[in-house]
Symmetry: C2
Subunit: 327 residues, 2 copies
């Protein structure tokens, strides 16, 4: 499908399911940017889940997010029970202004449903010359290191570093061994997952993605990755004042769509902190990094895909499923 | 040795090697707090390295750090070519004030030599009800994932979460598979290290800590840990405007002591962001975490050791070495 066809399909299905113009367009931009970058687990793959929660009435299709400056350095967004993309689009310009003015600022987003990648928000900050860091928690599917009971969400963290005149360095990764969307796609396509991805419901190591989905995922990198996953949980829920992953599950209506939660976003101006010359200083570092055999810069593969024409492979059964949601 | 004897030994050796009162007392506090918590690789173990760089003239024993507010949210400390503890003690109260006022603030420390743990600074913030995050880079000893050439330092990151009325949740971990101090101690004591800790000089996996010290360490957690290590490098050097790890090596006099570098510290007020009730909300999360079999809260073991009397085991050869530095 062309990106234009993907855009039209997404627009039609959100409009047909009660989303107003502002929410539809923000959601469409989130989905098209994911498909454009072949970030497939956050593109059309998410549409059935988005629609499920609009239909169940859990998520509002005509949410009007409210953006306030809690302090000159803190932008607080109340998402009005809607999906995150519109709340983000309304809040990010305020966050960027505050960070440019003060050198650092943070944004909390509460009362929303986040079901997309995080790199769109961190990249948007990097394109304005700011360092961006974002994280969310979600439903409890990851056991803390040493345990076999789920407590953490897959708790992704994204970090983007501005490179004036170039695409930014961006990573966006689950703090679980694998993103849940990736495990779901492996289960759908009948692929195995590596040992260490997760445990089955009886606490045993397994390579079967279906068994992992019935059991628990594990954090990446053992105790250290588990500490990072806990940090994400505390920032996205404790600092924002919204649901921890286990609370999200307790408060959810079980419709299969995303659960309510918060997002924490940090923006820092390297120009205000390190001063003139920061970009050249950092480019020398990136050059050194890329000169080492076997390495690749996080985000580079996605940015390369972005520039490769406007046709993308899309799962045919998924497209049929989405078309069935137009009625 | 008692903590009092450790304190006196440290005081004597710094004074005998040209440290003035302010710098001596700040260094002594850093060393005693490490020994008190059995954070051995940052206690007396570091003294010979501290003294080496005072004697070579690389580090100034009478540094007068200068603290400025670059913006209301950014505290910038110039360490005046001294060791980090005094710069930290002068800057942290300003950082805490700014974070309480604005909800978030950051501190950059440049032109210092950091050779201690990071938890003293993040815990100090947590004891004031603030979330603290700190990171530094150092000499290049860690290869980015996929490579076998050192670029990153062991790049530790510490994160502390305030728990009013209790000791905070604190982690402080190298983003390498193992801290270099731990590898050095394993080499000294003749212990093996796990496969995955690092590569020998010829790029082969090894369990010999001496071979790892001649070769490269690896990041924890593969590509994801490598991304975190890169983030630390960019915050501690790019944002601070001081040496990346590879620059620290190029600019060092090779005396075997610590290399010059920056530190990035972030402070956030959960009370300003999440409002009243944040502490109870988060205590429920910690309770849930601790109820899972097999888990332990980061920092808890160190805090338990802290309360266990005032006598600590100290390596006898190390004490003799330090005494020889009194002349």
């Amino acid at each position: 499908m062309t990106l234009n066809e993907i855009e039209n399909l997404a627009r039609d299905v959100f409009q047909a399911n009660g989303c107003d113009h502002s929410n539809t367009e923000a959601l469409v931009r989130a989905i098209v940017s994911a498909e454009r970058d072949c970030s497939m687990s956050h593109g059309l793959f998410r549409v059935p889940g988005y629609i499920t929660s609009l239909r169940s009435g859990k998520v509002s299709g005509d949410a009007r997010p409210v953006v306030k400056a809690a302090t000159p350095a803190i932008i607080a967004v109340d998402g009005d029970n809607g999906y995150a993309p519109l709340a983000l689009e309304l809040g990010l310009p305020r966050l960027a202004s505050a960070a440019k003015e003060l050198g650092i600022a943070a944004m909390t987003i509460a009362n929303t449903y986040h079901f997309a990648a995080l790199w769109p928000e961190t990249e948007a900050l990097a394109e304005q010359g700011l360092v961006g860091l974002a994280c969310v928690c979600h439903l409890p599917v990851v056991a803390p290191a040493g345990g076999s009971e789920a407590l953490f969400g897959t708790n992704p963290i994204s970090f983007a570093w501005p490179r004036p005149g170039r695409t930014p360095m961006v990573f966006d990764m689950a703090t679980s061994s694998m993103a849940q969307g990736e495990v779901q796609i492996a289960a759908r396509d009948g692929h195995e997952v590596p040992i260490g991805t997760g445990l089955s419901a009886d606490g045993e190591a397994t390579t079967d993605p279906k068994k992992v989905l019935e059991g628990v995922l594990l954090p990446f990198g053992g105790y250290k990755g588990s500490a990072i996953a806990m940090m994400v949980e505390l920032l996205a829920a404790g600092i924002v004042g919204d649901n921890f992953s286990y609370e999200a599950a307790e408060n959810d209506n079980g419709d299969g769509g995303p659960a309510r939660g918060g997002e924490f976003i940090l923006a820092i101006s390297p120009e205000r902190l390190a001063g003139v010359g920061w970009a050249d200083h950092c480019e020398d570092f990136f050059k050194r990094y890329m000169s080492i055999d076997g390495t690749r810069l996080p985000g580079a593969r996605r940015h390369k895909i972005r520039s490769m024409g406007d046709t993308r492979h899309v799962n045919a059964a998924l497209v049929e499923e989405i078309k069935s949601l137009l009625d």
